[in-house]
Amino acid sequence: MALVKYILEDSSEVTIEAQVGQNLMQLAIENNVEGIEGACGGSCMCATCHVKVESVNGAELGERSEMELDVLEMEIDEVASNSRLGCQIEINEKIESITVRIESIQSI
Protein backbone atom coordinates (compact mmCIF):
# COMPACT_ATOMS: atom_id res chain seq x y z
CA MET A 1 0.00 0.00 0.00
CA ALA A 2 1.18 3.51 -0.79
CA LEU A 3 -0.19 6.99 -0.36
CA VAL A 4 -0.65 8.88 -3.60
CA LYS A 5 -1.15 12.63 -3.44
CA TYR A 6 -2.53 14.35 -6.53
CA ILE A 7 -2.19 18.12 -6.77
CA LEU A 8 -5.01 19.27 -9.02
CA GLU A 9 -4.91 22.14 -11.45
CA ASP A 10 -6.71 24.45 -9.04
CA SER A 11 -3.93 23.57 -6.51
CA SER A 12 -6.24 21.57 -4.27
CA GLU A 13 -4.93 18.18 -3.15
CA VAL A 14 -6.39 14.69 -2.95
CA THR A 15 -4.64 11.81 -1.21
CA ILE A 16 -5.63 8.24 -1.97
CA GLU A 17 -4.38 4.86 -0.73
CA ALA A 18 -3.15 2.75 -3.60
CA GLN A 19 -2.68 -1.01 -3.77
CA VAL A 20 0.41 -2.66 -5.20
CA GLY A 21 -0.09 -3.15 -8.93
CA GLN A 22 -2.32 -0.13 -9.46
CA ASN A 23 -1.09 2.64 -11.69
CA LEU A 24 -1.65 6.35 -11.16
CA MET A 25 -4.08 6.71 -14.07
CA GLN A 26 -6.30 3.80 -12.93
CA LEU A 27 -6.30 5.06 -9.37
CA ALA A 28 -7.33 8.54 -10.50
CA ILE A 29 -10.16 7.26 -12.70
CA GLU A 30 -11.51 4.94 -10.00
CA ASN A 31 -11.55 7.81 -7.50
CA ASN A 32 -12.91 10.49 -9.82
CA VAL A 33 -9.79 12.62 -9.62
CA GLU A 34 -10.28 15.62 -11.90
CA GLY A 35 -7.92 16.15 -14.82
CA ILE A 36 -6.95 12.58 -15.75
CA GLU A 37 -8.88 11.22 -18.70
CA GLY A 38 -6.92 8.01 -19.28
CA ALA A 39 -8.25 7.83 -22.82
CA CYS A 40 -6.16 4.89 -24.01
CA GLY A 41 -6.64 2.98 -20.80
CA GLY A 42 -2.95 2.75 -20.03
CA SER A 43 -1.79 1.71 -23.49
CA CYS A 44 0.87 4.43 -23.43
CA MET A 45 -0.60 6.22 -26.42
CA CYS A 46 -2.51 9.32 -25.47
CA ALA A 47 -0.87 11.38 -22.67
CA THR A 48 -4.26 12.25 -21.16
CA CYS A 49 -2.78 10.92 -17.90
CA HIS A 50 0.11 13.39 -17.89
CA VAL A 51 1.53 14.24 -14.45
CA LYS A 52 4.66 15.80 -13.07
CA VAL A 53 6.27 13.83 -10.27
CA GLU A 54 7.04 16.12 -7.33
CA SER A 55 8.39 13.56 -4.87
CA VAL A 56 8.63 9.82 -4.20
CA ASN A 57 9.42 8.10 -0.91
CA GLY A 58 10.65 4.55 -0.46
CA ALA A 59 11.90 3.83 -3.94
CA GLU A 60 13.05 5.43 -7.14
CA LEU A 61 10.81 5.35 -10.19
CA GLY A 62 12.31 3.62 -13.20
CA GLU A 63 13.31 5.44 -16.36
CA ARG A 64 10.69 6.48 -18.91
CA SER A 65 10.48 3.98 -21.76
CA GLU A 66 11.19 5.07 -25.32
CA MET A 67 7.50 4.89 -26.17
CA GLU A 68 6.53 6.92 -23.11
CA LEU A 69 9.00 9.63 -24.13
CA ASP A 70 7.76 9.55 -27.73
CA VAL A 71 4.18 10.04 -26.61
CA LEU A 72 5.07 12.82 -24.19
CA GLU A 73 6.93 14.63 -26.93
CA MET A 74 4.08 14.18 -29.39
CA GLU A 75 1.41 15.54 -27.05
CA ILE A 76 2.94 17.82 -24.41
CA ASP A 77 4.16 21.33 -25.24
CA GLU A 78 7.04 21.34 -22.82
CA VAL A 79 8.18 17.97 -21.57
CA ALA A 80 9.93 18.39 -18.21
CA SER A 81 12.42 15.97 -16.70
CA ASN A 82 9.71 14.92 -14.22
CA SER A 83 6.91 14.67 -16.84
CA ARG A 84 5.42 11.20 -16.76
CA LEU A 85 2.45 9.28 -18.06
CA GLY A 86 0.46 8.38 -14.95
CA CYS A 87 -0.46 5.01 -16.45
CA GLN A 88 3.19 4.06 -16.66
CA ILE A 89 3.81 4.57 -12.93
CA GLU A 90 2.80 1.41 -11.14
CA ILE A 91 2.74 1.15 -7.36
CA ASN A 92 5.15 -1.53 -6.09
CA GLU A 93 5.92 -2.86 -2.59
CA LYS A 94 8.69 -0.35 -2.04
CA ILE A 95 6.91 2.92 -2.80
CA GLU A 96 5.60 4.45 0.44
CA SER A 97 4.25 7.68 -0.93
CA ILE A 98 4.29 9.69 -4.10
CA THR A 99 3.15 13.21 -4.95
CA VAL A 100 2.23 14.19 -8.50
CA ARG A 101 0.92 17.35 -10.08
CA ILE A 102 -1.78 16.88 -12.71
CA GLU A 103 -1.30 18.72 -15.98
CA SER A 104 -4.42 17.80 -17.84
CA ILE A 105 -4.75 17.90 -21.59
CA GLN A 106 -8.44 17.09 -21.90
CA SER A 107 -9.53 20.37 -23.41
CA ILE A 108 -8.48 21.90 -26.70
Partner: protein, 428 residues
Protein backbone atom coordinates in the same frame (compact mmCIF):
# COMPACT_ATOMS: atom_id res chain seq x y z
CA UNK B 1 -29.14 31.65 -12.64
CA UNK B 2 -28.90 28.00 -11.69
CA UNK B 3 -25.71 26.39 -12.86
CA UNK B 4 -27.26 23.10 -13.81
CA UNK B 5 -30.00 23.01 -16.31
CA UNK B 6 -32.45 20.18 -15.81
CA UNK B 7 -33.18 18.72 -19.15
CA UNK B 8 -34.85 15.40 -19.39
CA UNK B 9 -33.49 13.55 -22.34
CA UNK B 10 -35.91 13.29 -25.20
CA UNK B 11 -37.23 9.77 -24.68
CA UNK B 12 -40.50 8.00 -25.04
CA UNK B 13 -41.83 6.28 -21.95
CA UNK B 14 -42.83 3.06 -23.58
CA UNK B 15 -39.26 2.18 -24.55
CA UNK B 16 -38.42 0.08 -21.50
CA UNK B 17 -38.95 -3.17 -23.42
CA UNK B 18 -37.54 -1.87 -26.69
CA UNK B 19 -35.54 -4.32 -28.82
CA UNK B 20 -32.05 -2.83 -28.61
CA UNK B 21 -30.85 -4.74 -31.67
CA UNK B 22 -33.51 -3.40 -34.01
CA UNK B 23 -32.59 -0.43 -36.22
CA UNK B 24 -36.23 0.64 -36.10
CA UNK B 25 -36.07 1.17 -32.34
CA UNK B 26 -33.62 4.03 -32.70
CA UNK B 27 -35.74 5.85 -35.25
CA UNK B 28 -38.00 6.74 -32.30
CA UNK B 29 -35.12 8.14 -30.27
CA UNK B 30 -32.61 6.38 -28.06
CA UNK B 31 -34.41 3.90 -25.75
CA UNK B 32 -33.05 5.34 -22.51
CA UNK B 33 -35.40 3.36 -20.31
CA UNK B 34 -34.43 0.05 -21.84
CA UNK B 35 -30.77 0.77 -21.15
CA UNK B 36 -31.48 2.05 -17.65
CA UNK B 37 -33.22 -1.24 -16.95
CA UNK B 38 -30.22 -3.17 -18.26
CA UNK B 39 -27.80 -1.10 -16.15
CA UNK B 40 -29.90 -1.62 -13.04
CA UNK B 41 -31.04 -5.21 -13.41
CA UNK B 42 -28.73 -6.97 -15.82
CA UNK B 43 -25.49 -5.08 -16.45
CA UNK B 44 -24.05 -7.99 -18.41
CA UNK B 45 -27.03 -9.18 -20.43
CA UNK B 46 -27.27 -11.80 -23.17
CA UNK B 47 -29.14 -10.32 -26.14
CA UNK B 48 -30.52 -12.47 -28.95
CA UNK B 49 -30.27 -11.19 -32.50
CA UNK B 50 -33.07 -11.64 -34.99
CA UNK B 51 -31.08 -11.22 -38.19
CA UNK B 52 -29.32 -14.57 -38.01
CA UNK B 53 -26.65 -13.24 -35.66
CA UNK B 54 -25.44 -15.46 -32.83
CA UNK B 55 -26.41 -12.98 -30.12
CA UNK B 56 -24.10 -10.93 -27.91
CA UNK B 57 -23.43 -9.73 -24.38
CA UNK B 58 -24.47 -6.12 -23.75
CA UNK B 59 -22.21 -4.27 -21.32
CA UNK B 60 -24.00 -1.16 -20.14
CA UNK B 61 -22.37 0.21 -16.96
CA UNK B 62 -19.57 2.76 -17.13
CA UNK B 63 -17.02 0.87 -15.03
CA UNK B 64 -17.61 -2.41 -16.83
CA UNK B 65 -17.19 -0.77 -20.24
CA UNK B 66 -13.85 0.65 -19.18
CA UNK B 67 -12.85 -2.75 -17.78
CA UNK B 68 -13.64 -4.50 -21.07
CA UNK B 69 -12.01 -1.76 -23.14
CA UNK B 70 -8.88 -2.03 -21.02
CA UNK B 71 -8.46 -5.77 -21.64
CA UNK B 72 -7.88 -6.03 -25.40
CA UNK B 73 -6.20 -9.46 -25.04
CA UNK B 74 -9.41 -10.92 -23.61
CA UNK B 75 -11.89 -8.68 -25.45
CA UNK B 76 -10.39 -8.63 -28.89
CA UNK B 77 -11.16 -6.27 -31.78
CA UNK B 78 -9.44 -8.62 -34.22
CA UNK B 79 -12.55 -10.68 -34.97
CA UNK B 80 -14.76 -7.72 -35.89
CA UNK B 81 -16.01 -4.53 -34.30
CA UNK B 82 -19.53 -4.45 -35.71
CA UNK B 83 -22.21 -6.88 -34.57
CA UNK B 84 -22.82 -8.36 -38.04
CA UNK B 85 -21.40 -11.85 -38.55
CA UNK B 86 -18.62 -12.18 -41.11
CA UNK B 87 -16.75 -15.10 -42.60
CA UNK B 88 -13.00 -15.10 -42.16
CA UNK B 89 -12.47 -14.22 -45.83
CA UNK B 90 -14.80 -11.26 -45.74
CA UNK B 91 -13.29 -10.02 -42.58
CA UNK B 92 -9.71 -10.20 -43.88
CA UNK B 93 -10.70 -8.38 -47.08
CA UNK B 94 -12.25 -5.48 -45.20
CA UNK B 95 -10.26 -5.03 -42.06
CA UNK B 96 -8.54 -1.83 -40.95
CA UNK B 97 -6.20 -1.25 -38.03
CA UNK B 98 -9.26 -0.75 -35.86
CA UNK B 99 -9.81 -4.48 -36.27
CA UNK B 100 -6.44 -5.47 -34.84
CA UNK B 101 -5.15 -5.92 -31.30
CA UNK B 102 -1.89 -4.80 -29.70
CA UNK B 103 0.94 -5.22 -30.56
CA UNK B 104 -0.08 -5.25 -34.26
CA UNK B 105 -2.43 -2.34 -33.60
CA UNK B 106 0.15 -0.31 -31.70
CA UNK B 107 2.54 0.17 -34.60
CA UNK B 108 -0.06 1.48 -37.06
CA UNK B 109 -1.90 3.48 -34.46
CA UNK B 110 1.26 5.36 -33.52
CA UNK B 111 2.05 5.99 -37.19
CA UNK B 112 -1.38 7.61 -37.69
CA UNK B 113 -1.35 9.23 -34.30
CA UNK B 114 1.38 11.60 -35.50
CA UNK B 115 -1.19 13.44 -37.59
CA UNK B 116 -3.88 13.79 -34.93
CA UNK B 117 -2.19 14.82 -31.70
CA UNK B 118 -3.67 17.59 -29.62
CA UNK B 119 -0.51 19.58 -30.19
CA UNK B 120 -0.76 19.40 -33.97
CA UNK B 121 -4.55 19.63 -34.26
CA UNK B 122 -4.67 22.80 -32.20
CA UNK B 123 -2.50 24.55 -34.81
CA UNK B 124 -5.31 24.03 -37.33
CA UNK B 125 -7.81 26.03 -35.30
CA UNK B 126 -7.70 29.16 -37.53
CA UNK B 127 -8.33 27.06 -40.66
CA UNK B 128 -11.23 25.28 -39.04
CA UNK B 129 -12.73 28.58 -37.94
CA UNK B 130 -12.39 30.00 -41.43
CA UNK B 131 -14.42 27.16 -42.94
CA UNK B 132 -17.40 28.12 -40.79
CA UNK B 133 -17.78 31.46 -42.57
CA UNK B 134 -19.44 30.44 -45.82
CA UNK B 135 -21.48 27.57 -44.49
CA UNK B 136 -22.82 29.41 -41.45
CA UNK B 137 -23.46 32.68 -43.26
CA UNK B 138 -25.45 30.81 -45.91
CA UNK B 139 -27.46 28.96 -43.27
CA UNK B 140 -28.26 32.13 -41.33
CA UNK B 141 -29.31 33.87 -44.57
CA UNK B 142 -31.76 31.07 -45.26
CA UNK B 143 -33.38 31.77 -41.88
CA UNK B 144 -35.40 28.55 -41.71
CA UNK B 145 -33.18 25.55 -42.26
CA UNK B 146 -32.63 21.92 -41.51
CA UNK B 147 -29.67 22.47 -39.19
CA UNK B 148 -28.35 18.96 -39.68
CA UNK B 149 -28.38 19.22 -43.47
CA UNK B 150 -27.19 22.80 -43.88
CA UNK B 151 -24.70 23.00 -41.00
CA UNK B 152 -23.80 19.79 -39.22
CA UNK B 153 -23.53 17.71 -42.35
CA UNK B 154 -21.37 20.17 -44.25
CA UNK B 155 -18.86 21.31 -41.67
CA UNK B 156 -17.06 18.15 -40.47
CA UNK B 157 -15.80 16.88 -43.82
CA UNK B 158 -14.75 20.37 -44.92
CA UNK B 159 -12.86 20.71 -41.65
CA UNK B 160 -11.32 17.25 -41.80
CA UNK B 161 -10.41 17.80 -45.46
CA UNK B 162 -8.66 21.08 -44.68
CA UNK B 163 -6.61 19.40 -41.97
CA UNK B 164 -5.63 16.27 -43.87
CA UNK B 165 -5.28 18.01 -47.23
CA UNK B 166 -8.09 16.96 -49.55
CA UNK B 167 -9.59 19.69 -51.79
CA UNK B 168 -12.63 21.59 -50.47
CA UNK B 169 -14.61 20.79 -53.59
CA UNK B 170 -14.36 17.05 -52.90
CA UNK B 171 -15.91 17.35 -49.44
CA UNK B 172 -19.50 16.87 -50.54
CA UNK B 173 -18.63 13.71 -52.45
CA UNK B 174 -16.65 12.38 -49.50
CA UNK B 175 -19.62 13.06 -47.21
CA UNK B 176 -21.94 11.04 -49.40
CA UNK B 177 -19.50 8.13 -49.63
CA UNK B 178 -18.83 8.24 -45.90
CA UNK B 179 -22.57 8.13 -45.32
CA UNK B 180 -23.18 5.14 -47.52
CA UNK B 181 -20.38 3.28 -45.75
CA UNK B 182 -21.60 3.94 -42.22
CA UNK B 183 -25.32 4.65 -42.41
CA UNK B 184 -25.96 1.45 -44.30
CA UNK B 185 -29.16 0.81 -42.34
CA UNK B 186 -31.06 4.03 -43.16
CA UNK B 187 -32.72 4.32 -46.59
CA UNK B 188 -32.18 8.10 -46.56
CA UNK B 189 -28.45 7.51 -46.88
CA UNK B 190 -27.96 4.46 -49.03
CA UNK B 191 -29.64 2.49 -51.79
CA UNK B 192 -28.24 -0.65 -50.24
CA UNK B 193 -29.99 -0.90 -46.86
CA UNK B 194 -28.16 -3.68 -45.12
CA UNK B 195 -31.10 -5.55 -43.59
CA UNK B 196 -33.50 -4.89 -46.47
CA UNK B 197 -31.64 -5.36 -49.74
CA UNK B 198 -29.40 -8.27 -50.57
CA UNK B 199 -25.94 -6.80 -50.00
CA UNK B 200 -24.20 -10.15 -50.37
CA UNK B 201 -22.25 -9.16 -53.46
CA UNK B 202 -20.62 -6.38 -51.42
CA UNK B 203 -19.47 -8.62 -48.62
CA UNK B 204 -15.82 -8.24 -49.51
CA UNK B 205 -15.86 -4.47 -49.93
CA UNK B 206 -14.86 -2.09 -47.17
CA UNK B 207 -17.91 -1.43 -45.00
CA UNK B 208 -19.92 -3.85 -47.15
CA UNK B 209 -20.65 -1.03 -49.55
CA UNK B 210 -19.64 -0.12 -53.11
CA UNK B 211 -18.78 3.30 -51.69
CA UNK B 212 -15.90 1.62 -49.87
CA UNK B 213 -14.30 0.73 -53.20
CA UNK B 214 -14.60 4.31 -54.48
CA UNK B 215 -13.02 5.68 -51.33
CA UNK B 216 -10.17 3.21 -51.69
CA UNK B 217 -9.48 4.52 -55.19
CA UNK B 218 -9.72 8.12 -54.08
CA UNK B 219 -7.30 7.44 -51.21
CA UNK B 220 -4.87 5.87 -53.63
CA UNK B 221 -5.04 8.97 -55.85
CA UNK B 222 -4.31 11.21 -52.87
CA UNK B 223 -1.31 9.06 -52.04
CA UNK B 224 0.04 9.28 -55.61
CA UNK B 225 -0.29 13.07 -55.55
CA UNK B 226 2.01 13.14 -52.56
CA UNK B 227 4.70 10.81 -53.85
CA UNK B 228 7.89 12.88 -53.84
CA UNK B 229 5.77 15.94 -53.17
CA UNK B 230 5.32 17.15 -49.60
CA UNK B 231 2.06 19.10 -49.62
CA UNK B 232 2.53 20.20 -46.02
CA UNK B 233 -0.67 18.51 -44.87
CA UNK B 234 -1.46 15.62 -42.58
CA UNK B 235 -1.66 13.07 -45.41
CA UNK B 236 1.84 14.04 -46.57
CA UNK B 237 3.06 13.72 -43.03
CA UNK B 238 1.56 10.27 -42.63
CA UNK B 239 3.28 9.14 -45.81
CA UNK B 240 6.70 10.12 -44.46
CA UNK B 241 8.72 7.54 -42.55
CA UNK B 242 8.39 7.91 -38.76
CA UNK B 243 11.41 8.63 -36.56
CA UNK B 244 12.32 4.95 -36.58
CA UNK B 245 12.25 4.87 -40.39
CA UNK B 246 9.05 2.83 -40.54
CA UNK B 247 6.54 3.54 -43.34
CA UNK B 248 2.91 2.63 -44.07
CA UNK B 249 2.19 0.05 -46.76
CA UNK B 250 -0.18 0.85 -49.64
CA UNK B 251 -2.96 -1.22 -48.16
CA UNK B 252 -2.49 0.23 -44.69
CA UNK B 253 -2.84 3.73 -46.07
CA UNK B 254 -5.90 2.97 -48.22
CA UNK B 255 -7.63 1.22 -45.37
CA UNK B 256 -6.86 4.09 -43.07
CA UNK B 257 -8.16 6.62 -45.54
CA UNK B 258 -11.49 4.79 -45.82
CA UNK B 259 -11.71 4.42 -42.05
CA UNK B 260 -10.99 8.12 -41.55
CA UNK B 261 -13.68 9.20 -44.04
CA UNK B 262 -16.16 6.87 -42.35
CA UNK B 263 -15.22 7.74 -38.77
CA UNK B 264 -14.73 11.49 -39.04
CA UNK B 265 -17.93 12.30 -40.87
CA UNK B 266 -21.26 11.51 -39.26
CA UNK B 267 -19.98 11.18 -35.68
CA UNK B 268 -18.98 14.83 -35.56
CA UNK B 269 -22.07 15.77 -37.57
CA UNK B 270 -24.41 14.30 -34.99
CA UNK B 271 -22.43 15.77 -32.10
CA UNK B 272 -23.08 19.15 -33.73
CA UNK B 273 -26.74 18.29 -34.37
CA UNK B 274 -27.35 17.36 -30.74
CA UNK B 275 -25.48 20.49 -29.63
CA UNK B 276 -27.74 22.67 -31.78
CA UNK B 277 -30.77 20.79 -30.50
CA UNK B 278 -29.73 21.68 -26.95
CA UNK B 279 -29.08 25.31 -27.91
CA UNK B 280 -32.44 25.60 -29.67
CA UNK B 281 -34.38 24.15 -26.79
CA UNK B 282 -32.65 25.70 -23.80
CA UNK B 283 -32.35 29.47 -23.63
CA UNK B 284 -30.10 29.09 -20.58
CA UNK B 285 -27.49 27.12 -22.50
CA UNK B 286 -27.79 29.51 -25.41
CA UNK B 287 -27.41 32.66 -23.28
CA UNK B 288 -24.54 31.34 -21.19
CA UNK B 289 -22.50 30.32 -24.19
CA UNK B 290 -23.38 33.30 -26.33
CA UNK B 291 -22.05 35.63 -23.65
CA UNK B 292 -18.81 33.63 -23.15
CA UNK B 293 -15.68 34.57 -25.08
CA UNK B 294 -13.99 31.86 -27.16
CA UNK B 295 -11.30 31.21 -24.59
CA UNK B 296 -13.62 30.98 -21.56
CA UNK B 297 -13.25 27.68 -19.66
CA UNK B 298 -16.98 27.08 -19.98
CA UNK B 299 -16.44 26.29 -23.65
CA UNK B 300 -14.26 23.31 -22.70
CA UNK B 301 -16.75 21.87 -20.24
CA UNK B 302 -19.64 22.62 -22.59
CA UNK B 303 -17.94 20.83 -25.47
CA UNK B 304 -17.38 17.71 -23.37
CA UNK B 305 -21.00 17.85 -22.24
CA UNK B 306 -22.26 18.29 -25.82
CA UNK B 307 -20.34 15.19 -26.84
CA UNK B 308 -21.46 13.15 -23.80
CA UNK B 309 -25.03 14.28 -24.44
CA UNK B 310 -24.85 13.20 -28.10
CA UNK B 311 -22.84 9.97 -27.70
CA UNK B 312 -23.14 9.37 -31.45
CA UNK B 313 -21.19 6.10 -31.56
CA UNK B 314 -23.47 3.99 -29.45
CA UNK B 315 -21.46 0.80 -29.26
CA UNK B 316 -18.58 -1.20 -30.63
CA UNK B 317 -18.11 -4.93 -30.52
CA UNK B 318 -15.36 -7.13 -29.12
CA UNK B 319 -14.97 -10.92 -29.14
CA UNK B 320 -13.97 -12.87 -26.02
CA UNK B 321 -10.76 -14.86 -26.51
CA UNK B 322 -11.23 -16.76 -23.23
CA UNK B 323 -13.99 -17.33 -20.70
CA UNK B 324 -14.57 -14.35 -18.43
CA UNK B 325 -16.95 -13.84 -15.51
CA UNK B 326 -18.73 -10.51 -15.23
CA UNK B 327 -21.59 -9.91 -12.79
CA UNK B 328 -21.89 -13.69 -12.30
CA UNK B 329 -22.43 -14.25 -15.99
CA UNK B 330 -20.04 -16.47 -17.89
CA UNK B 331 -18.91 -14.85 -21.11
CA UNK B 332 -17.54 -17.73 -23.18
CA UNK B 333 -14.60 -17.76 -25.53
CA UNK B 334 -15.88 -16.72 -28.97
CA UNK B 335 -18.89 -14.77 -27.67
CA UNK B 336 -19.57 -11.33 -29.07
CA UNK B 337 -19.50 -8.53 -26.50
CA UNK B 338 -20.91 -5.04 -27.18
CA UNK B 339 -19.68 -2.12 -25.11
CA UNK B 340 -22.48 0.47 -25.06
CA UNK B 341 -20.59 3.75 -24.65
CA UNK B 342 -23.80 5.76 -24.70
CA UNK B 343 -25.21 3.77 -21.80
CA UNK B 344 -22.00 4.33 -19.83
CA UNK B 345 -22.35 8.05 -20.48
CA UNK B 346 -25.76 8.08 -18.85
CA UNK B 347 -24.81 5.74 -15.98
CA UNK B 348 -26.07 7.18 -12.70
CA UNK B 349 -23.24 5.33 -10.91
CA UNK B 350 -20.67 7.53 -12.61
CA UNK B 351 -22.40 10.79 -13.50
CA UNK B 352 -24.36 12.98 -11.13
CA UNK B 353 -27.72 13.61 -12.75
CA UNK B 354 -26.77 12.17 -16.12
CA UNK B 355 -30.05 13.24 -17.68
CA UNK B 356 -29.35 16.87 -16.91
CA UNK B 357 -27.30 18.86 -19.35
CA UNK B 358 -24.69 20.56 -17.18
CA UNK B 359 -22.64 23.18 -19.01
CA UNK B 360 -20.05 23.14 -16.26
CA UNK B 361 -20.04 19.44 -15.42
CA UNK B 362 -16.96 18.77 -13.35
CA UNK B 363 -14.62 15.94 -14.21
CA UNK B 364 -16.67 14.82 -17.18
CA UNK B 365 -14.97 11.49 -17.86
CA UNK B 366 -17.40 10.48 -20.59
CA UNK B 367 -16.52 7.63 -22.93
CA UNK B 368 -18.11 8.86 -26.16
CA UNK B 369 -14.70 8.40 -27.83
CA UNK B 370 -14.42 4.82 -26.57
CA UNK B 371 -11.95 5.84 -23.89
CA UNK B 372 -10.34 3.26 -21.65
CA UNK B 373 -8.48 1.17 -24.21
CA UNK B 374 -6.06 1.28 -27.14
CA UNK B 375 -8.79 1.96 -29.72
CA UNK B 376 -9.86 5.23 -28.15
CA UNK B 377 -10.79 7.63 -30.93
CA UNK B 378 -7.84 8.76 -33.01
CA UNK B 379 -9.74 11.88 -34.06
CA UNK B 380 -10.87 12.97 -30.61
CA UNK B 381 -8.89 16.22 -30.51
CA UNK B 382 -10.06 17.18 -33.95
CA UNK B 383 -13.67 16.29 -33.12
CA UNK B 384 -13.58 18.33 -29.91
CA UNK B 385 -12.14 21.30 -31.73
CA UNK B 386 -14.64 21.01 -34.59
CA UNK B 387 -17.65 20.91 -32.28
CA UNK B 388 -16.40 23.78 -30.13
CA UNK B 389 -15.48 26.07 -33.01
CA UNK B 390 -18.69 25.33 -34.95
CA UNK B 391 -20.87 26.23 -31.96
CA UNK B 392 -18.82 29.35 -31.18
CA UNK B 393 -19.07 30.60 -34.73
CA UNK B 394 -22.76 29.81 -34.95
CA UNK B 395 -23.55 31.75 -31.77
CA UNK B 396 -21.62 34.76 -33.03
CA UNK B 397 -24.00 34.94 -36.00
CA UNK B 398 -27.38 34.45 -34.35
CA UNK B 399 -29.44 36.11 -31.64
CA UNK B 400 -31.86 33.23 -31.40
CA UNK B 401 -32.26 29.59 -32.46
CA UNK B 402 -35.72 28.04 -32.33
CA UNK B 403 -36.74 24.55 -33.25
CA UNK B 404 -39.72 24.79 -35.59
CA UNK B 405 -40.62 21.15 -36.18
CA UNK B 406 -39.97 17.74 -34.72
CA UNK B 407 -36.49 16.28 -35.16
CA UNK B 408 -36.03 12.95 -36.96
CA UNK B 409 -33.66 10.26 -35.78
CA UNK B 410 -31.40 8.02 -37.81
CA UNK B 411 -32.42 4.42 -38.36
CA UNK B 412 -29.40 2.68 -36.90
CA UNK B 413 -28.51 0.61 -33.85
CA UNK B 414 -24.91 1.75 -34.22
CA UNK B 415 -24.82 5.50 -34.84
CA UNK B 416 -27.15 7.83 -32.96
CA UNK B 417 -28.13 10.83 -35.00
CA UNK B 418 -30.63 13.59 -35.53
CA UNK B 419 -30.92 13.45 -39.30
CA UNK B 420 -33.36 16.37 -39.59
CA UNK B 421 -33.47 19.33 -37.24
CA UNK B 422 -35.74 22.13 -38.50
CA UNK B 423 -34.80 25.46 -36.91
CA UNK B 424 -35.28 29.18 -37.36
CA UNK B 425 -32.06 31.16 -37.08
CA UNK B 426 -32.46 34.83 -36.25
CA UNK B 427 -29.38 36.69 -37.36
CA UNK B 428 -27.41 38.63 -34.73
Amino acid sequence: MAKILKTVCPTNNDDVDADITSHDTYEKGFPHNAFKRLRDDEPCAWIDEHDGGKGFWAITRYNDIREVNGLPKIFSSAQGIRLEEQSKEEFEARKTFQETDPPVHTRQRMMFHRGFTRKLVSTYEPLIREICNDILNDAVDLNEVDATKEIAKKLPMRMLGRVVGTPDEDAEWLVSKGDSMIANSDPDFTDHVIDKVDTDEYRFLPFRSPAGREIYDYGEKQKKLRENNDMGDVLSMLLQPDKHGDTLSDLEFKNFFALMVAAGNDTTRYSMAFSMHALANNPYIFDCLKSSPDDAPIWSTATEEFIRWASPTMHFRRTATEDYILHNKKIREGDKVAVWFISGNYDERKFAEPFSFNLERENNQHIAFGQGGPHTCLGMWLARLEVKVAMQELLKRVSKIEQIGPEKYLRSNFIRGIKNLPVRLTSA
